[in-house]
Symmetry: C2
Subunit: 383 residues, 2 copies
């Protein structure tokens, strides 16, 4: 499924290509988030035009609405949402375990109440695979428990055991079932273990024994310090096989992504470009801007002069600022498009830099510019 194309010499950064039933994915890659079968405020053809190669959807959300049966009958999510890009579905573990007051974890699964209507549901390692068979995702994620950052060693240990047991059950169910929509479906295991090296090792080795098509690192970006996240990522990627793709779930800021690529991560997803975009935060090479600030009302430059997205090619900061101040939906659309373009260009730039054996210099220059080290007076960031 995965071909490692190039390994950086000065860091663990690497370049590869994933083969899926809906085409190739060149890594490192950022996956735009389309939780409910739509990238918020962005048309499907716009997502594709931005250079997205794979998108993310969510099993928990889709199981509740519109439901697995409907998606199965519709021919899967690709057909339902008219998407010919590969789709990765998160298992919904993260969402279910976020419903702290509404769920009960048992040995064989988790019972929870829908955040929409309070109806009772149960996820097991097998049922979550069944839903993803109905969805037809190109990459399925196993059911895991994602504990909070401060859960402590004992909880993390028991939770890691549970996730590993569930992973074995998921593996068995994957082998016993097949795709419903005529294309191959791969499955990734999720390494848990909180911030504890021995638990991370136990989780990683257990999952490797089960021979998944790729390995995700879960349980990070849940409140711990960035340095802790980098350390655990670094430690964990050392344990993972070089010839399998590695996915750091729910990460992160542009700097988080750059630092994690340097630590051997291939795949990322995060709501930040779209969610922050809807809240008027736009990314530029010189750092993020709060584009609805009054100062941008007379700024006729594009959001980022180096960006080739529709928003930057067409509209000024002044116009986007006006749209946010006037509460126009178009503001959310334009900011989301730009921020996705920024994230996708970021992973493309890293790919080129690694292939050219220039990642170290590229990374330093990017961070320097993004954090203001070389910023010219008034060049952009409002931080």
């Amino acid at each position: 499924m995965f071909t490692l194309q190039h390994q950086d010499r000065a860091s663990k950064a690497r370049v590869g290509v994933l083969r899926t039933g809906h085409g190739l994915v060149e890594t490192p890659i950022f996956m735009p988030v389309g939780t409910q079968g739509a990238v918020k405020a962005v048309h499907g053809h716009e997502v594709r035009a931005l250079g997205a190669q794979i998108i993310l959807a969510n099993t928990y959300h889709l199981a509740l609405r519109p439901g697995a049966e409907l998606l199965r009958d519709a021919g899967g999510l690709h057909r339902f949402m008219h998407c010919d890009l590969p789709i990765l579905t998160d298992s919904g573990g993260y969402q279910v375990f976020s419903l702290t007051a509404l769920r009960k974890i048992e040995r064989d699964g988790v019972t929870f109440r829908s955040h929409i209507d309070g109806s009772a549901h149960r996820f097991t390692p097998a049922s979550v695979i069944d839903v993803q068979r109905a969805i037809g995702s190109d990459i399925m994620m196993i059911l895991d428990e994602c504990p909070p950052a401060d859960c402590g060693y004992e909880y993390a240990r028991r939770s890691g055991d549970l996730t590993l047991r569930w992973a074995a059950q998921a593996r068995e169910h994957i082998a016993a079932t097949g795709p419903l929509h005529g294309h191959a479906q791969r499955a990734f295991g999720i390494v848990q273990g909180n911030v504890f090296d021995d638990l991370r090792r136990q989780s990683a080795l257990g999952l490797i024994d089960l021979d998944f098509d790729g390995y995700a690192i879960g349980g990070l970006a849940v409140g711990e310090a960035a340095e802790v996240m980098y350390r655990v990522t670094d430690f964990t990627t050392d344990l993972l096989p070089a010839r399998k793709p590695r996915y750091l779930m729910g990460v992160g800021t542009p700097l988080n992504i750059v630092e994690s690529v340097a630590r051997g991560i291939d795949m990322f997803d995060c709501v930040m470009p779209t969610r922050n975009g809807r809240n008027a935060m736009v990314f530029t090479r010189e750092g993020p801007l709060t584009i609805k600030k009054e100062r941008y009302l007379r700024d006729n430059r594009p959001i980022d002069e180096t960006c080739a997205c529709h928003t930057c090619r067409t509209h000024s900061r002044a116009y986007v600022c006006h749209l946010f101040r006037a509460r126009e939906i178009l503001a959310l659309q334009l900011a989301s498009i730009h921020n996705l373009a920024f994230y996708l260009q970021l992973t493309r730039d890293m790919r080129s830099a690694i292939l050219n054996d220039a990642f170290f210099a590229w990374k330093n220059a990017f961070i320097d510019r993004y954090t203001g080290g070389t910023r010219a007076a008034g060049a952009g960031s409002d931080r």
Copy 2:
């Protein structure tokens, strides 16, 4: 400015072409509403791709935000919003007079408080032209008072006198000023007079004396019965010169538009396609649908099988239904695009029918199908 190309024999329907500083506008035409310099939830390039030939913006809203001075300095609204279509700006009279508790009408203008921040403003016939000079609209509307449907004869008479006096002042100010952005700006008078024939006549004749570039009919679609609106429209268009364009402000449903074209109207604007679209009402040849109803979750047909818009070419009723139920912004985008396509196709269809001397038959067939006269069982409408 206006060339009358063809006059229907069996009705007052007509076909013409408006010349503006931003290109030709073929009538009858529907103008998508971009109140604050954006058509809600629709990209500018999408508005153009739908075949829109002119859009509408609002002087009141733009004067408050981002302000006339900023728009003037930005090179006008076309440049600010990156729009190369002609723009018509409503004077804001309607909006100001809707602020019943916040405004005070005086002999020479109206003082009001902003609906945004309560700040005090004053509009005069001249100041509203000044704002529209800053905006650079291709067609400017004069300041009028738009009284409610049930205002009574005495109020309507005094209000009509006021609007006519203001129109004369506006005419004078237009003559005394010039465009700021290098293209011609035309001005339309607004016929008032409520439902009273003698007041409508007095208003129309007074405005014709002032020789505007076109004539709008205001004060309709403000709560009166459709039959009353048709009667007043019919009466008023008889008074207006054949060689000038006629614009029925704020109208209306697809049936209202068809009936008003039959009574000699050339131009329409209405928030209905976008506002109702955002509320999950979509238009079809067989009548409107409430697309978020559960029954559409398994309907794999396009919203309207005869429609060539992006939404109908790409997505099913089921997907749009899911997006509304899941409260995705993309739902608002897709419904708005389709509804604008429906309105624009409607005016194009009328234009063809009139040119082919087939308007009478076309109109009967359209109304029959839209209201269900020939509806096959289950063919579409959920009314």
